[in-house]
Symmetry: C2
Subunit: 512 residues, 2 copies
């Protein structure tokens, strides 16, 4: 695991103050798996699902709504277009997907933070989309821009998050038509990790591209991928104008898009795992193929966000076996397409960062690692079915992500890993704590939580018998106190501010 | 999944009362995996570790302490015995292991609860050994016989626990030299699931066998396995008189033993995963081989209890990547031996049933399923590094075990599973909730927690904003209120009581 350390000084008294409180930021490289994937579909199951997905695309087709240009593209590519319904002949979508790269680099403004998405890699990004936030002090409330910035800072300081994400929460105190400007700027200025662009209108995607041109330079953006953005499919089998418009902007600019259904099983897809996989496969094939119709070779990630449902209440449920099976199965199907794969996350339905939240989250995170996921959105901070971003859960989840790094590393069978000298030295009835091999290896031998309680019972009781949420609350406070923004060229910051000011001037404030 | 329902009535007014509050007990069959194992060791790693384990057995050897009969058996089998050190020539232990069955049936007094241990199966049993208990009302305190009985009742009522376990907690209010009598009787009378015998002295193992002869009949016990008991190896590489004495009793009586090291990594084994696997492999080979020297064909389970350690505090740590790697690797090595495998559990270091407990537990439970574990001791109720048995965590963990059942079932690709009719019926932009396929399948489509919160935020808030522990507390109370002992032949109960009374009369009370 390559790790970089950054320590930034400043001039004069600020420099001395910064020095005293300097935080040494350690950021792990994205995960490069040395362990196999868990493959739960056998060859027969794969053949059935792939054939069924092709049947769905040809016989049932998909809708591209309010998008004549998309229909034109599909017709030209050989699809049978009836009204807004696109019937895609068997094999065509799969053929079109072939021009999509199997892996690509998303550049960060700090080159050490650039990520390679695809192959055996796993890139971890924060929660996306919650309109509410929760913290131990303030409870649950609508999210604001101040909350948004808090999450960007926490992601920046996390050792195990490789990506700054996108809509870490919805800053409801900023008008919706200019909100994206402040959000993208926060990622650009408060972090140096890679980030996502806006997708809520095609124009906002264009603004995101233009802001990147200021940050990275126009030439650099023309030749390189600097954003990975989230394009949701309206399941079942529908591609709406807004999302496709954003996809078109990003693909045309060679920026990456995650093309992903957002499915509550039993509502937007069949109640069976194989049926859901069939539909997700059809949707992903159509969406990725469309990105390649816009621009062959545009980087794209095949996504699958699928929850199960509590049929008694209609609530989405998380960490369940059916959700795991879809995530694992879709990993197999996506690898056969040769595409990077997005799925899993810190999913839970719990209202609090309690045991339920942690069981469900751990089930999902582990599944994501074993499913061969390449880009894991929502890897930290998700609460209450995604309605809430929790700062305490954010640091709790982020800590757990270290476990995925360790597990993915596989087993070292070098001479040092074999430890035969240690076994010989200690012998029957002996003790390893003092032996030479232990002394040489103890610092890196075992993953250690940066948050959880490992203290003796008596110490823990004396210190107030704190539960995980209380420990997380302390950690959040420490991190935010120690936060220092990564340095930025003042000329770039000025240009960004000017761009945003100009955009805000011409846009009438709107909250819907 | 085969499921049995039992409903027991009684006579007169008691019968009517029983009828009103009758609990319909649903117990799932043990897990029969339809999904593959996760194999993290490649062929080279396996060869290295197996060869190293053979080297350890031959060159370093193992100690059988204060046990001249064991040394005699080893010498006769061809080992080089030097004092209490047994050097086992390469290949000999593996050869001796071949007479151990690859799977066996452990009979329960209710034949529907008998379990098949080995192959692709997974049998789940409760926590074992904690001297303390914790509950939400009473906090943490020494365990008593009343606590012990509570856990046996909760395990009996759990849908997902297949086994009643053994020392679900240490009843410290009963003298240690007769404690085992009350414990075994509790399993026999308060539950009808299979259970474990005493191992703390060879004589207590013999008492356990004799009590089984009363319960099952002497002839039945002579021909069948009715107990699976836990024999710990004193790592590194030491087999003490007490544990081996109990093993000798059980093997001689054709009763099953789990032969298992109990390792805190870095203390009782090297700090590396490959080194730990080497030592565990050597220990298991020697222990299982010894069981076959006592009685060829005696049923035995190869075990691996391995935690990681926090090198800063010396505390054992749980749910870590290194623990997972040992569990997964040992699964591969055990399958090559053709032996049933015991590992994993609801492991955690947390003092409370909070998020830490759940993250760590979920990591361990999932690992156990994917490692091919056949017998999972500690599958519910473990807290604080095994020092504490928690009633709330017991029902929380037991609920999560349902997820393992669902995941292991694999993906249904029958016509109904494929759900093509549903996809055709609903079409682009439609909704699955009302379609025929959903109506036909919704009851069994998704796993549903019997404990966790799936309610809308407002309802949840109105009902007191309960966290998982609070929900678990309610569930414990409900289960214990509804508990009814399974029926038992009064003559057998009388004989058991007479046996215990006789034993207690002749034993002076002792607490150490």
């Amino acid at each position: 695991m390559a790790e970089g350390r950054t320590r930034r000084g400043r001039g004069g008294g600020a420099a001395r103050r910064a020095e005293r409180s300097a935080v040494s930021l350690e950021v792990a490289k994205y995960i490069e798996r040395q362990i196999p994937d868990l493959e739960i579909l056998n060859d027969e199951a794969i053949e059935i699902i792939e054939a069924n997905a092709d049947t769905v695309l040809e016989e049932i087709g998909v809708n591209f709504t309010e998008n004549p240009e998309a229909l034109r593209r599909w017709k030209e590519a050989g699809a049978d277009v009836q009204g807004e319904r696109v019937h895609i002949p068997k094999g065509l979508a799969r053929e079109l997907c072939k021009t999509a790269p199997s892996r690509f680099t998303q550049h960060a403004r700090n080159p050490e933070r650039s990520v390679e998405i695809g192959g055996r890699n796993l890139v971890l990004a924060p929660v996306y989309g919650p309109p509410f936030v929760r913290d131990a002090q303030g409870g649950r409330r609508y999210a604001t821009m101040a909350d948004f910035e808090k999450f960007v800072k926490l992601a920046y300081m996390s050792k195990w998050l490789h990506h700054s994400g996108g809509t870490v929460c919805e800053p409801t105190d900023v008008p919706v038509n200019v909100r994206h400007l402040d959000m993208v700027k926060a990622h650009m200025t408060l972090s140096d990790k890679p980030f996502m662009g806006s997708v809520t209108e095609p124009e906002r995607a264009q603004d995101s591209v233009e802001m990147c041109e200021i940050l990275f330079g126009k030439d650099f953006v023309a030749d390189n991928t600097v954003m990975t953005s989230l394009i949701n499919i309206n399941s079942p089998l529908t591609f709406d104008r807004t999302m496709m418009g954003a996809l078109e902007v990003y693909a045309a600019n060679n920026q990456a898009a995650i093309v992903s259904p957002f499915i509550v099983g039993g509502a937007m897809a069949p109640v069976s795992v194989a049926g859901t996989l069939t539909q997700v496969m059809a949707e992903v094939l159509a969406g990725v193929a469309y990105s390649q119709l816009v621009r062959p070779g545009a980087p794209v990630i095949a996504g699958a966000f699928v929850t199960s449902i509590d049929m008694a209440s209609g609530a989405p449920t998380f960490g369940t076996p059916e959700a795991a099976q879809v995530t694992l199965g879709m990993g197999q199907l996506t690898r056969r397409l040769g595409l990077p794969y997005r799925s899993a996350g810190s999913f839970c339905g719990s209202k609090l960062p309690d045991a339920q939240a942690a069981y469900e989250t751990a089930n999902s995170l582990n599944t994501g690692l074993l499913a061969g996921v390449n880009f894991m959105l929502h890897a930290a901070g998700w609460l209450e079915g995604g309605l809430v971003a929790s700062v305490e859960k954010f640091v709790m989840d982020a800590d757990q992500l270290g476990i995925l790094h360790g597990l993915a590393r596989g087993v070292d069978v070098s001479d040092n890993g074999q430890a035969m000298d240690a076994i010989r030295e200690v012998g029957p009835g002996g003790h390893y704590l003092g032996c030479a091999h232990t002394q040489a290896n103890f610092k890196t031998a075992f993953w250690r939580s940066g948050l959880l309680d490992y203290k003796p019972f008596e110490t823990w009781a004396e210190e107030g018998a704190r539960d995980t949420q209380a420990l997380a609350e302390l950690r959040v406070a420490t991190l935010l106190e120690q936060y220092q923004a990564p340095g930025m060229d003042p000329a770039i910051l000025e240009s960004l501010n000017a761009y945003i000011a100009r955009k805000k001037e011409t846009a009438p404030a709107a909250f819907a």
